[in-house]
């Protein structure tokens, strides 16, 4: 169980903390230059996130999809793949859940909701597997295929929603059946009507699954081996193609689940939209923030979600224009994401850089040898 404890060791925690502080300072500077009171802006942000039970609930609601797409991107990263297609997998998961949620009648909630959830998750997984298949069997770079698949997912979703379940005279699908809902009514009531659903709890379970799968199973061992060194994995008899396919599929399932809760938990309908919601791209930032570790991703999504939701407070209470709010958030994310930069600042004062030692000597002889 070394991994769990490792997260909390000093250096792992120090770098993101310094990054957040630097980001806040940089944001404060921007606000100061723009003539706004950064202290009141930050306290407004804080107040917006924790100010009322409603806000706490809605912050959690903001965090949920980010957690799922963050896990999706992070999982693929661990397996050596850059899943820029979480966006499309999210859309497809959403669409599948909507169709199952709207079209099936008369099922008890105990069957209908989980069924819609599983179908949505699998649909997202299959969408991811397409990119995985193209990569493993045809050598198509997953970044390229994922970008294409994102567009296909958007338009396919729009087409399916408009042709199958469109609410008459509206730009959105019909409401899902009550039996497919994954909202938690009593919790919403308790939190002043904030939209609460099972997403965050399933998300926590996914955090644990992410860890167990990658570090506690042989399958995960294979996926990580392929991710770090596909050549060595192949020589060691691991089915590299199959691993890539599985990685993208699992990654897609995580993203698909995010879409499932967005529709079954938050909206209860799906909108025909000109642009996808962007959670998949936010997920890349979350995975980066979290260093591709499940706990890190959880913390990253909390940070990202809180900033996103709280920024409305900066605008509303402290009168900071949204443009500046976005710059401030950008600063914080920039510093956290570029943790290498922070490490560079922190390193020189730390004596005894053990791992670097050998590198330096190697570097020396390499130069000499040519």
């Amino acid at each position: 169980m070394t991994k769990w404890s490792q997260i909390f060791i000093k250096s792992n925690l120090l770098v993101p903390l310094v990054a957040i502080v630097l980001g806040l300072l940089c944001g404060a500077l921007v606000m100061w230059l723009g003539g706004y009171n950064s202290w009141s802006a930050y306290s407004a942000l804080f107040h917006k996130v924790f100010g009322s039970s409603y806000d706490i609930g809605e912050t959690i609601r903001t965090i949920t999809p980010l957690l799922f797409t963050g896990l999706s991107v992070g999982f693929a990263f661990r397996a050596g793949l850059f899943n820029i297609g979480a966006e499309g997998q999210f859309m497809i998961g959403m669409t599948a859940a909507t169709i199952v949620g709207v079209k099936l009648h008369g099922l008890p909630a105990i069957v209908h909701a989980p069924l819609a959830l599983v179908v949505g998750a699998l649909a997202g997984g299959l969408w991811g597997a397409i990119a995985g298949f193209l990569k493993s069997n045809r050598g198509v770079n997953e970044v390229i295929s994922c970008i294409m698949l994102n567009w296909i997912a958007l338009y396919l979703s729009n087409y399916l929603i408009s042709s199958l379940v469109l609410e008459k005279g509206q730009q959105r699908s019909e409401m899902i059946q009550e039996s497919a809902s994954l909202s938690i009514g009593w919790l919403s009531k308790a939190l002043d009507n904030a939209r609460m659903d099972w997403g965050i709890f399933i998300g926590m379970i996914c955090v644990a699954l992410f860890y167990i799968l990658l570090w506690r199973t042989k399958q995960g061992y294979e996926l990580r081996a392929v991710g770090h060194n596909a050549d060595a994995a192949r020589v060691s008899g691991i089915n590299v193609k199959g691993s890539m396919l599985k990685s993208m599929m699992i990654s897609g399932i995580f993203a698909g689940l995010g879409g499932v809760f967005e529709v079954l938990g938050v909206f209860h309908y799906q909108v025909v939209t000109a642009a996808s919601p962007g959670y998949g791209f936010d997920g890349i930032a979350v995975a980066l923030l979290g260093g591709n570790h499940p706990i890190g991703i959880l913390l990253g999504s909390v940070l990202f979600g809180a900033l996103t939701y709280g920024s409305a407070g900066m605008n509303f209470t402290a009168n900071v224009p949204t443009e500046i709010v976005r710059i401030v958030i950008g600063c914080i994310i920039f510093f956290v994401a570029s943790h290498g930069l922070i490490q560079m600042f922190l390193k020189p004062r730390k004596p005894g850089r053990k791992p670097k030692k050998k590198g330096a000597v190697d570097g020396g002889s390499d130069l000499g040898l040519g």
């Binding site: 809605e58 642009a275 570029s338």
Partner: protein
């Protein structure tokens, strides 16, 4: 050496990725023309960069409020994904609220929505903050406004472009089909090729209303003319709009009516290119008088949708204690109410045609003609 090389490579990668993320986060506000904003005009507006601080500091003393006193009252507005500077109805609505603030001394404030999920908390932000009226701009607010209104029966809300069945919500919609009918009349009488194009943003019910009214208008005066629709699939892609327009012009259409928001700008660009090359083609604008931005060389006329007027009127009603919520009081602004129609000045439309337009307008207002909506 190899190792340090890899490390710095990954550092560079991290930097690039984070930079891209930051940039894309910043760029979003411009790219995300709201899906629900079917039409966008772009009259150059001095107050385009209006910030809430400006409006908040607008001192009530200098406002001349002859009839209504809004001092101490607060009105909030939630934009859809387009944001407050969308050069379309979000901006029109906000300009109206700024005017209210100036005229009555009421406090006004807006919140922008970055995702669909933001509608509800943003509305709640105003409602729970004790605002006297909260606007939701765009028809995606239907469900969010309904929910918030039901949960807060003492709050007052108003929505544009959709109808909410709640006693504390005032709904304002427009009969876009009626206005479209009239520009259809103009197009039907102006066309020389008997081929007329329609460029839509996305195939949504709202946009279908434009198309249906337009077709009916053309058919009423020129049964031989054919209207060909061409949907772009997006409200913020001028390049696609230009392409759609080129296809229609190449097929012999000499007039295009667009209801495609930012994509519609491409229709004007294409028309301008053709005009410069010596081919006379026309565009019919939407929402605002688009000849102000794109000139009279190519703008035949525009189908105006007076969102600003509606927001102003409803806000003023509230301040003077005449707020009327509920389905029964839902406003549907058509030709009769002056909510839609042609601009006052139409230098490119002949007197005879304008007379014809006036004639049809009266028939619609009197109910003699019923304009179809789909």
């Amino acid at each position: 050496m190899k190792r340090t090389g890899m490390r710095s490579a990954s550092l560079v990668l991290t930097l690039v990725v984070s930079l891209v993320l930051v940039l894309s986060a910043c760029g979003k506000s411009n790219n995300n023309e709201g899906a629900a904003s079917p039409s966008a005009s772009s009259s150059p507006s001095e107050s385009a960069s209006a910030s809430p601080s400006e409006s908040a500091s607008a001192s009530p003393s200098e406002s001349a409020a002859p009839t209504v006193d809004g001092k101490g009252k607060k009105i909030g507005m939630v934009t859809d994904l387009g944001g407050v500077n969308d050069k379309s109805f979000n901006q029109q609505a906000w300009e109206a609220l700024e005017k209210i603030s100036k005229d009555t001394g009421a406090d006004v404030k807006y919140l922008e929505s970055k995702k669909d999920a933001d509608y509800e908390p943003n509305l709640n932000n105003f409602v729970k903050g004790g605002y006297d009226l909260t606007w939701g701009i765009g028809f995606l607010f239907a469900d969010a406004a309904k929910k918030v209104a039901d949960q807060n029966p003492n709050a007052k809300l108003a929505v544009i472009d959709t109808t909410v069945d709640a006693p504390n919500v005032e709904s304002v919609t427009f009969k876009e089909h009626e206005g479209s009918f009239l520009v259809g009349v103009v197009a039907g009488l102006t066309t020389k090729t008997n081929k007329i194009g329609f460029v839509g943003g996305m195939e949504l019910p709202v946009i279908k209303k434009f198309e249906a009214g337009f077709k009916a208008g053309v058919a009423a005066v020129n049964p031989d003319a054919v209207v060909t629709p061409n949907y772009v699939g997006d409200f913020s892609k001028p390049d696609l709009g230009k392409l759609a327009a080129a296809t229609l012009y190449d097929a012999g259409n000499d007039i295009i009516f667009h209801a495609a928001g930012g994509s519609g700008n491409g229709v004007f660009t294409e028309a301008k290119d053709r005009f410069k090359a010596g081919n006379k083609v026309w565009v019919i604008g939407v929402d605002k008088d688009q000849s102000i931005e794109f000139g009279n060389d190519i703008t035949l006329t525009s189908m105006m949708k007076k969102v600003d007027q509606a927001v102003y009127t409803v806000s003023q009603d509230l301040l003077s204690g005449k707020f009327q919520g509920g389905l029964a009081n839902a406003k549907e602004l058509g030709l009769a109410e002056g909510g839609v129609g042609l601009p006052d000045n139409n230098p490119n439309v002949s007197k005879e045609i304008l007379d014809k337009v006036e004639e049809f307008k009266n028939k619609i207002v009197s109910g003699e003609i019923k304009v179809p909506t789909e």
